[in-house]
C-alpha cells in the first residue's frame, strides 16, 4: 500500500483549518502515530485518510489512484478505520462475536475456508476466542473495542487507521496486540491517532507527527499543564464508610458469575482506582452501585441508601456517574442543560440550575460551549461534559468509568484537580481505569477485580496476588 497526500486542506465550517497544504507519504509496513490535543483534528484527518470524507482541497491517492477510482470491494480490502465509538461500528447483522468478525470477509465472497481462517486468526490476535459464541450486544467496553479491531483486521487491509485504538483495552491486550501488529502475515501500514505518545507505542511506532499550526510536524514536548485553582474546602465529616458491600454476588444471565460473596468498605474522602482486565466487571460494579443492576445476593449500602430499594431521585442526589460509552448517554440538546439535568431533577429551578451548571462549565474552561449540542463537540470535550454533568450537584460518591482516557494534558489536569477537590470535601471517588500512571497520581486506594472477587488495598501497599 502506498498512500500519497499532497496539498491537503481540511477544515470544519466556521472554524480555522485543521491542516493547510499538508503532505504525507506512507509505504507498506509503515507505523505512524499522529498526535494532537483534544480537538486538534485527528479524527477528521483519520477519516480523510480512510476515504470516509473528501478533503476540501488537495489530493489523497491510495496506490496511486483516487478513492472513487477503486471498486467498492477493493476499497474494503484497502483501508480499514476503527473509530472512537466502536459500538457504532458493529454490523448489526451478526449475533455472535464470531459471526461479527466473519461479516466483512463474507461480504467479499471469500472461500469458506479463508473466512474461517481469518476469523480465527483475528479472534486469536485480540484474545476473543473464549467469547466466540457470545452475543455481541452484551460485551464490555473493552471487549467491544477488541471485536471491532478484530473485524477490521479480518479484512486484511493494506492500511489500518486507528483512532485512539487501545483506549478501552486492558494492559495485557495492548501489549499482545502491539506485538502482533509487528508480525502480521500480510503487509500493512498503520496510522495511530492519539492525544499523546503511549507506552505501548514503544517498539511499534516508527514515526511520530503532530498536528500543529495547520501542518504535520515533528512532535514537541507538552507544555506544562496550567495551574488549576481549586475552591476552598468546606467543613465535612469523614466518619463511616461511603460504600459498604455485604456478601455481594452478581452475574449476568447466560454468563459466568462476576462477583461472589464480596464484603468490603470504601471510606469517605478516598479515591479508589478500580482495576482489572476487560470483562472483569468494573462497569458492572458501577452499575450495581448506581442501582442499574440488582445483586443476585447480598446488600449494597451507598451514601446510606440501598440502591435497589431507594427512590432513584433520592439516591441520585448523592451519586454522580459517568458511563464508559458516555456518548450514548447524552439526553439534552445543549451542553448547559445536560450539565444541569441532575439539579433539575432534584427540583431546583431552571434558571438557578443553569447558573450553577454554567459555573461548573466555566471552571472546566468550557464556558463558550454551553449552547452547543454535546454530540457536536470533539471527543475530549464530550467526555468533559459527561463529567461536568456528574459533578454539578455535588455528589457524595462520584463514579467515573474511564473518564480520563483520551484527554490531553490540559483536560487531564482539570480532571485531577476536580477529583482532588471532591475527595477533600469528603466524597468517595471511584475511577475505573487501565491507565497506571493516572491511577498512581490520583488514587489513595486500589480495588482489584478479577476471578469473582475484589481486593481493596491502599494505593501504596502491595496487592496480594489475584
Amino acid at each position: 500500500m502506498s498512500l500519497l497526500v499532497r496539498d491537503l486542506t481540511l477544515s470544519h465550517p466556521g472554524q480555522p483549518p485543521i491542516l493547510r497544504g499538508a503532505a504525507l507519504d506512507l509505504r507498506p509496513g509503515d507505523r505512524l502515530a499522529i498526535l494532537g490535543g483534544n480537538g486538534a483534528g485527528k479524527t477528521t484527518l483519520g477519516r480523510a485518510l480512510a476515504g470516509l470524507i473528501a478533503p476540501m482541497q488537495g489530493q489523497i491517492l491510495w496506490n496511486d489512484r483516487a478513492w472513487y477510482e477503486h471498486r467498492r470491494a477493493e476499497r474494503a480490502g484497502m483501508v480499514q478505520f476503527v473509530g472512537q465509538q466502536p459500538w457504532l461500528q458493529l454490523s448489526g447483522r451478526a449475533f455472535t462475536v464470531r459471526e461479527e468478525i466473519a461479516f466483512g470477509p463474507e461480504n467479499l465472497c471469500l472461500p469458506r475456508s479463508e473466512i474461517a481462517r481469518r476469523t480465527d486468526e483475528a479472534m486469536e490476535l485480540l484474545g476473543l476466542t473464549h467469547l466466540a459464541r457470545r452475543n455481541c450486544r452484551h460485551l464490555s467496553g473493552g471487549e467491544t473495542q477488541r471485536l471491532v479491531l478484530a473485524g477490521a483486521l479480518a479484512m486484511h487491509p493494506q492500511l489500518l487507521v486507528l483512532d485512539e485504538p487501545m483506549i478501552d483495552l486492558d494492559l495485557q491486550t495492548r501489549e499482545t496486540l502491539a506485538g502482533h501488529l509487528n508480525n502480521l502475515p500480510w503487509q500493512m501500514a498503520v496510522v495511530f491517532l492519539d492525544v499523546a505518545a503511549q507506552p505501548w507505542m514503544r517498539g511499534l511506532v516508527r514515526d511520530q507527527l503532530e498536528i500543529r499550526d495547520g501542518g504535520l510536524q515533528p512532535p514537541q514536548p507538552d507544555p506544562a499543564p496550567p495551574e488549576i485553582p481549586v475552591p476552598p474546602v468546606p467543613d465535612h465529616d469523614l466518619d463511616g464508610p461511603a460504600i459498604r458491600l455485604n456478601g455481594l454476588s452478581f452475574g449476568y444471565k447466560d454468563a459466568p458469575p462476576l462477583f461472589r460473596d464480596v464484603t468490603l468498605d470504601i471510606p469517605k474522602g478516598s479515591v479508589t482506582a478500580v482495576l482489572g482486565p476487560n470483562g472483569a466487571g468494573k462497569s458492572s460494579l458501577l452499575r450495581l452501585l448506581s442501582g442499574l443492576e440488582r445483586p443476585t445476593a447480598g446488600r449494597i449500602d451507598i451514601a446510606g441508601y440501598d440502591p435497589v430499594r431507594a427512590n432513584p431521585k433520592a439516591l441520585a442526589a448523592h451519586i454522580g456517574v459517568t458511563f464508559q460509552a458516555s456518548d450514548r448517554h447524552f439526553v439534552q440538546a445543549r451542553v448547559v442543560d445536560e450539565v444541569a439535568l441532575a439539579l433539575r431533577y432534584q427540583g431546583i429551578a431552571a434558571a438557578k440550575a443553569r447558573f450553577r451548571a454554567g459555573q461548573v462549565l466555566a471552571w472546566m474552561g468550557m464556558a463558550d460551549l454551553a449552547k452547543a449540542h454535546p454530540l457536536d463537540l470533539h471527543a475530549g470535550a464530550r467526555r468533559m461534559v459527561a463529567l461536568a454533568g456528574a459533578v454539578a450537584h455535588g455528589p457524595d460518591v462520584l463514579m467515573l468509568d474511564e473518564s480520563q482516557r483520551g484527554l490531553d494534558a490540559a483536560h487531564l489536569a482539570r480532571l485531577e484537580a476536580l477529583i482532588g477537590f471532591l475527595a477533600a470535601r469528603g466524597a468517595a471517588v471511584l475511577i475505573v481505569t487501565h491507565d497506571q500512571d493516572f491511577a498512581t497520581r490520583v488514587a489513595s486506594h486500589r480495588l482489584m477485580l478479577g476471578d469473582g472477587g475484589m481486593q481493596l488495598a491502599p494505593a501504596t501497599g502491595v496487592l496480594p496476588p489475584a
Binding site: A76, G83, G92, F330, L375
Partner: protein, 248 residues
C-alpha cells in the same frame, strides 16, 4: 429484544420454513371464518408454550391484542351503524358489527401470533443469512430484516438513555408521574441519536464491503434436513392453494 434464546424444535427449524409458516397464516386470513382463525392462533400459542416461550408470547399478545380488540368491538359493535340495532341495557349494539369486529380481531390475532412465534424463536441475522444463502442480493435481505434489526437498535439506545436519566434522578419506578416524564425525556435524545448514528452505521457497513458484491459467501451455511425442505414445500403449496381459492 424479540428473540428468546432456546434449544426447542422451533428454535432449530430454519428461518425460511418459519417464514413459509407466516405466509400460510397470512393467506388463511381472507378465506377462513373467525373460529378457524382463532383456533389456529391458539394452536400457534400452544406450539410456543411447547417451546417454552408461551408466557413471554402470551404477555406480548395480551399487550397488543387487548387494546386492539377492545377498540374493534367498541367501534364496530356500538359506534358505527351496522345493520339492525339491538338494545343492551341503556345502549344499542349492532350484532353484525360485532361479527365483523370478531373477524378483524381473529385475523389480527392469528397473524400476530404466528409472527411472534417466528421472531421469538429466530435470530434476525439467521433470517438474513438464510436469504443470502438463497442468493438474494444482500440489499434485498437487508431491506427485509432491517425493521427487525431496528427494534434491537432502538432497544439498546433506549436502555442507555434510560440509565442516564435514572442515575440523575428520573426513573419509572418513582411512580406514574415520573413514568410519563420519563417517556417525554427519552423521546428527543432517542430520535436525535438514531439520526446522528445512522450515518456512522451505514459508513461502517460500507467500509466492511457490505453490498460491494452481488452475493455473500457464508462462514457457516445453514443446513436443512430433507424433512424440513419437504415441510416447507408443503407449507408453500398450501399457501399457493389458498391464494388460488381466493383468486377463483
Amino acid at each position: 429484544m424479540l428473540y428468546r434464546s432456546g434449544v426447542s424444535a422451533l428454535h432449530r427449524t430454519g428461518p425460511l420454513t418459519k417464514l413459509a409458516l407466516v405466509l400460510l397464516a397470512a393467506t388463511m386470513l381472507p378465506i377462513w371464518p373467525a373460529p378457524v382463525l382463532l383456533a389456529a392462533a391458539g394452536l400457534a400459542l400452544a406450539a410456543g408454550a411447547l417451546c417454552r416461550i408461551g408466557w413471554a408470547m402470551a404477555r406480548r399478545l395480551a399487550m397488543l391484542l387487548v387494546p386492539v380488540g377492545l377498540a374493534l368491538f367498541v367501534v364496530h359493535g356500538f359506534m358505527l351503524e351496522n345493520g339492525p340495532a339491538r338494545p343492551l341495557g341503556p345502549l344499542d349494539y349492532y350484532p353484525q358489527g360485532l361479527a365483523r369486529a370478531l373477524t378483524y380481531f381473529a385475523r389480527i390475532a392469528l397473524l400476530l401470533t404466528v409472527s411472534l412465534l417466528m421472531v421469538m424463536t429466530t435470530r434476525v441475522n439467521d433470517l438474513a443469512r438464510a436469504l443470502d444463502q438463497k442468493g438474494l442480493p444482500p440489499a434485498a435481505a437487508y431491506l427485509l430484516t432491517a425493521p427487525l434489526n431496528l427494534v434491537d437498535g432502538i432497544a439498546d439506545e433506549a436502555a442507555a438513555i434510560r440509565d442516564s436519566l435514572q442515575v440523575r434522578g428520573l426513573a419509572a419506578r418513582s411512580g406514574l408521574r415520573a413514568r410519563v416524564r420519563l417517556l417525554g425525556a427519552m423521546l428527543m435524545p432517542l430520535v436525535r441519536g438514531m439520526i446522528s448514528e445512522a450515518g456512522t452505521r451505514a459508513e461502517a457497513l460500507e467500509a466492511r464491503g457490505f453490498r460491494a458484491l452481488p452475493h455473500r459467501s457464508l462462514l457457516d451455511p445453514l443446513t436443512e434436513t430433507p424433512a424440513e425442505v419437504r415441510l416447507r414445500m408443503g407449507l408453500l403449496l398450501a399457501s399457493g392453494a389458498q391464494l388460488l381459492v381466493l383468486a377463483l
